[in-house]
């Protein structure tokens, strides 16, 4: 394998891994906050992509207007998602009810997207274009790297950094962590659990929306974009469900493995990813990393 090919495969892999990592991080935030696995994660991303495509192509907004308006829509999507999918079922006898509800939400989001924007995939322009209007490329030696992938990596890393900082350093983040870890005690102390849960949903929806905006130029805006979440699930399981760090590293690993496997057997890249998942499930079902809350005994 030539170094230039290696470099471009690596960049592609890390970029896709970053997208999975953002989705996976959202999954973990939700699991920690409300204890449910969100099967509509990818569809939130898909919906975000459609919102961006709509604002960008139909309303032709410039980037500085697009970002705040898109953020408001993402946040709104998160709040609606919380109050329709999670809130009515929070006291259900079986916690699985909420998980099933998220599966239903996944279908609803896909169909609503089709109803509003039609079933025809839409193409979004890359973020960085060259003078002819084609996707711009960065030449390093003989390797040509697409700017879109580099932007995905940079933005993804920035978001992951910001969110870990939010949870570790800020007062609000600590309240959110407390409410996640023991909602009963947090409630007795006066932590407004509805606000912390709502904030978590808003953050997750915004992260998913940004993901959608980033991957839209690569995969086109279509209602099946949500299937990317399967890779995020695989990554989260490989990394271990306990920590954001684990999820990010697991997802990056999935992205890189997927990217390099396209070279050897491109038709079987999905198989490779899930083979990796099975290997982990058999030999290390707890994932690469343990959570920071240990078992005392």
């Amino acid at each position: 394998m030539s170094p230039s090919l290696f470099l471009s495969l690596l960049v592609n892999g890390v970029a896709m891994g970053m997208v999975y990592a953002l989705l996976g991080m959202g999954l973990i935030l939700l699991v920690r906050a409300v204890g449910i696995l969100n099967f509509a994660q990818g569809d939130l991303m898909m919906f975000g992509a459609y919102i961006c495509a709509c604002l960008l192509l139909d309303f032709e907004l410039p980037l500085y207007l697009l970002i705040p308006i898109a953020f408001i829509w993402f946040a709104l999507l998160g709040v609606i998602f919380m109050f329709t999918i999670y809130w009515p079922l929070r006291k259900a006898t079986y916690s699985q009810a909420t998980i099933i509800a998220t599966m239903g939400a996944s279908i609803i989001l896909q169909e609503v997207a089709k109803i509003i924007w039609g079933s025809q995939p839409r193409s979004m322009p890359h973020l960085v274009l060259n003078s002819e209007g084609d996707p711009a490329v960065l030449q390093i030696g003989s390797a040509s790297l697409q700017w879109q992938y580099l932007i995905i990596i940079a933005v993804g890393a920035l978001i992951i950094f910001l969110i870990t900082q939010l949870f570790e350093k800020l007062y609000v983040g600590k309240m959110m962590q407390a409410a996640c870890q023991d909602s009963y005690a947090a409630n007795l102390l006066g932590v407004p659990s509805i606000l912390t849960i709502c904030a978590t949903y808003i953050i997750v929806a915004i992260v998913c929306g940004i993901c959608g905006y980033l991957v839209a130029p690569v995969f086109m805006v279509r209602s099946t974009l949500g299937t990317l979440q399967l890779r995020a699930f695989a990554g989260v399981v490989i990394g271990g469900f306990g920590s954001i760090k684990g999820a990010v590293i697991g997802c990056l690993l999935v992205g890189i493995v997927e990217s390099f496997s396209t070279m050897a057997f491109s038709g079987y890249k999905d198989v490779t990813v899930f083979l990796l998942l099975i290997i982990f499930l058999v030999f290390r079902p707890t994932g690469l990393f343990k959570g920071k809350i240990g078992d005392k005994a």
């Binding site: 609000v172 407390a178 870890q181 005690a185 102390l189 606000l195 920071k292 240990g294």
Partner: protein, 243 residues
């Protein structure tokens, strides 16, 4: 301070408290003893709003708190330290204490809480030593201190302590009860103490209520209750007052 009349509490259709009348007097330690399943914890939960209840609970100047949510009750200055400690396992000792400030600090506030934290550290020096340790790794006694310290961070006027001695070694329990008396005497907090350990609780408290199957059966100043025949027979044992 808190006056409870005709309080009923329910779990689904099961009635756990059947018309409780009691009073928690300002500046005193009031204790509530009773066997398993008598409804002691339920009574605390009814005061703090964590369970389904009806009746009237008057707090201070005749404000009825019997239909407030836990959050609002906490904001009024009644802090409930739940049974089984319930520290936030993945937060450090310091962060746990910070969470205690939420009801007066506000979600986005910037009020300093350094002074409160130092007071708590002065009361429980062990917590200061473990300041940056994740709280799941603390010993049971330290976790209980943390749970009480966290409640003290919230500027409480009334502290509801649910079985602070649960699962702790006798020496640790003795130390903890000294601290509880200190909180009552020097910090001037009113305390409602729920305990299985009837002897110790009555030694500490000024006034005692005995709860049996959802009803108050005996009440009075602790010294009197300690010599009540029924209490001796059911909770203390024959030789309780011989030494």
């Amino acid at each position: 301070m808190i006056k409870i009349s005709n309080l009923h509490a329910y779990y689904g259709t099961i009635e756990a408290l059947k018309g409780i009348n009691m009073e928690i007097r300002k500046g005193q330690i009031t204790c509530l003893i009773g066997s398993n399943g008598a409804g002691k914890s339920t009574l605390l939960k009814s005061i703090s709003g964590a369970c389904n209840r009806s009746g009237s609970i008057m707090y201070k100047d005749n404000a009825d708190i019997s239909n407030l949510s836990p959050q609002k009750v906490a904001r009024l200055g009644i802090t409930h330290v739940p049974e089984g400690r319930h520290v936030f396992p993945g937060l450090t000792v310091k962060e746990n204490l910070e969470v205690g400030t939420i009801n007066w600090h506000g979600f986005f506030g910037r009020k300093p809480y350094q002074k409160e934290m130092e007071e708590v550290f002065a009361l429980f020096p062990r917590l200061k030593e473990r300041e940056n340790q994740l709280s799941w790794s603390l010993s049971g006694g330290e976790q209980q201190m943390l749970a009480i310290g966290r409640a003290l961070m919230s500027h409480p006027e009334v502290l509801l302590l649910d079985e602070p001695s649960m699962g702790l070694a006798p020496l640790v329990i003795a130390e903890l009860f000294e601290k509880i008396v200190e909180i009552n005497k020097e910090w001037g907090l009113t305390i409602l103490l729920v305990e299985q350990n009837a002897k110790l609780a009555m030694k500490t408290a000024d006034y005692t209520y005995v709860l049996e199957r959802g009803n108050i059966t005996v009440e009075g100043p602790s010294a009197e209750v300690r010599s009540n025949d029924m209490v001796i027979k059911s909770y203390l044992g024959k030789f309780a007052n011989t030494k």
